[in-house]
Assembly symmetry: C2
Homo-oligomer: 276 residues x 2
C-alpha cells in the first residue's frame, strides 16, 4: 500500500470558527502574514500544491471519498485567484468548479438548494463552489430579495443539508476570504487604473461597497450560525494574497491527508505479468 | 378573478397519520370501501379527475405553487394504476412523473437525496414520485444495503429535506398504498395466470414477499417518524382498486383546492381589444 506522509506544518486552529459561539468579525485579522515572508510563503505554497495534486490523484483512484470546498468572500476578496493558485496542478477530470451567479428563471422556480445540490461532488471527486447556497443568506438578505422570515429559516436548512452530505460521505471545508474595507478600495481602484484589470471592473461593485456594513453583518451571522462540527468555517486573512494562498493550500492539503486514503490493492497475480 | 368552488366531499382525516405518535400498521384497514359501491365510486372519481384537471391548469397558469405527490406501496400495491387513474386527464406539460428504480452507479456515487432533489417540482408544476427517497429507508433497510447507523440517520435527513421544500413553497402529499398479504398473493397469482399480466411478473417479487414482515416494519417506522405537519402521510386502503383511486383523487383535489389559487389578472385594457 502506498501512503503519502504528513506534510502540513501550520496550526490552522486560530483560523477555525468555533461552533456555537458568538462571532465578532472585527476581531478577525485581515492582514496576517503568519510571521513569514512572501518568497518563503510562495515556495511553500508551491510544494503544498504538489502534494494536493498527489492527494487528489489518490482520492480519484480510490473513489471512496467526496470533498466539497465552499468559498465565499467580500467582493474583490480573491475567490477566483485562490482557486487558480491552490488548484493549479490538479487533474481537472477529478476536480470541478461550480460557480453560482445570479439564479436563472429555472433556478428561481425551485428551492434555493436545488441548483447547488446537483453540483455536489460524487465519490472520488473534489468540487469547489465559487459562491454557493450562502448567497441565499448574504446578497438575498442584504437586498431584501425574500422576506426576513424566509431567509431566517435558511440557516437551519443549510446546516441540515450539509449534515446530509457529510453523513453520506462528503468532507466539507468552508473558506471565508476576509479583507479590510481599505484593501477593497485599493483593489477596486486598481481595476480602474490598470489597463489589464479594467475588464474586472463592474460599476455594480461600487453599489455593493456602499452596503459594506450590511454585508459584514450578514457574513458575521453566517459564520456564527453555520460553522458546525461537521462543516466548519475558516476565516482566511486575505489582504495579502500570498498568505491567503498559503493558508488555503495548507488547509486543503491537511483535509485531504486526514482522509487516510490508500490506493486500491493491485489485482492479484499482477506482479508476475509481463507485457509482450 | 375566476375561482373554482369547493368540491371535495369525503373526510380524509381517518386516513391521515398523526405526527409524533406510535403507529401500529395492523390497526389500519386495507379493505375499506367508504360505505360506497363500486359504480358510484367510479363516477365520483371521474368527476374528481375533471376537477383535478381544471385545478392543475390553474396551478400551471398561476405559476406560484409547487406540488409534490410521493407514492410508496408494498409490491403490487398499485402505484402505477393509481397514477394512471387519478392523473389521466391532466396536461403532461405541467405534471411530471419521476420513477425511482435501482440507483445507477452515478446516483450511488452521490448522497441518496441527490437524484431525488433534481426532480423536485418547480413553480406551477405537479411532480409525482413513483417510489422515492423512502426506498433508502425501506429496501435499503430490509436488505442491509447500508449499516443500521447510516439508515437510522436518514429519517432526520428526510424530514429536513421535506421541510426545506415546504418552507420554500412546495406542498407535499405522501400516500402509502396499503394492501393485505392475501391481496398481494392474489395479485401475484393473477400475474402468473393471466396472459396479459404475465409481463408484470418478476420472480424478484416472490423473494420480496418472503420479507413481508420486515417490509411492514420498515413501512411502520417510516410512517411513525416521517409523518410531519408540513409533509403528512396518508395510509390508503388499497385492496379495492376503485376505493383506492377515489380516495387518492379526493386527497389530490382537496390539496389543490386548499391552495386557494386564482388565474393571473388579465393585461390592462384587454377587454377593449378586437382582433381584426
Amino acid at each position: 500500500m502506498v501512503r503519502i506522509k504528513q506534510a502540513v506544518q501550520m496550526d490552522h486552529s486560530p483560523y477555525l470558527v468555533p461552533t456555537g459561539q458568538p462571532v465578532d468579525l472585527r476581531a478577525w485579522t485581515t492582514d496576517d502574514d503568519g510571521g513569514l515572508d512572501k518568497r518563503a510563503a510562495k515556495d511553500r505554497t508551491d510544494d503544498l500544491n504538489d502534494r494536493i495534486e498527489a492527494l487528489q490523484e489518490l482520492l480519484f483512484a480510490e473513489g471512496r471519498h467526496k470533498v466539497l470546498v465552499i468559498i465565499q468572500a467580500t467582493d474583490t476578496g480573491g475567490k477566483d485567484g485562490t482557486i487558480r493558485h491552490v488548484f493549479d496542478k490538479v487533474n481537472p477530470q477529478g476536480v470541478k468548479v461550480a460557480s453560482f451567479k445570479k439564479p436563472t428563471e429555472e433556478e428561481l422556480g425551485h428551492d434555493y438548494l436545488w441548483r447547488v445540490h446537483r453540483h455536489a461532488p460524487k465519490s472520488g471527486e473534489i468540487t469547489i463552489f465559487n459562491r454557493s447556497h450562502y448567497e441565499d443568506v448574504l446578497v438575498v438578505r442584504v437586498h431584501d430579495l425574500v422576506p426576513p422570515e424566509q431567509w431566517e429559516r435558511r440557516y437551519e436548512h443549510i446546516n441540515a443539508f450539509e449534515r446530509l452530505l457529510t453523513d453520506e460521505g462528503t468532507t466539507i471545508v468552508k473558506l471565508f476570504l476576509h479583507i479590510s474595507k481599505d484593501e477593497q478600495r485599493e483593489r477596486l481602484q486598481d481595476r480602474l487604473d490598470e489597463a489589464d484589470k479594467n475588464w474586472k471592473f463592474d460599476s455594480g461593485d461600487l453599489r455593493e461597497r456602499a452596503h459594506w456594513d450590511q454585508y459584514q453583518e450578514a457574513f458575521r451571522v453566517m459564520l456564527e450560525r453555520t460553522s458546525t462540527v461537521h462543516a466548519p468555517w475558516y476565516v482566511i486573512p486575505a489582504d495579502r494574497k500570498w498568505f491567503r494562498n498559503l493558508l488555503v493550500s495548507e488547509i486543503i492539503a491537511a483535509t485531504l491527508e486526514q482522509l487516510d486514503m490508500a490506493f486500491p490493492p493491485a489485482e492479484e497475480g499482477i506482479r508476475d505479468l509481463v507485457i509482450e
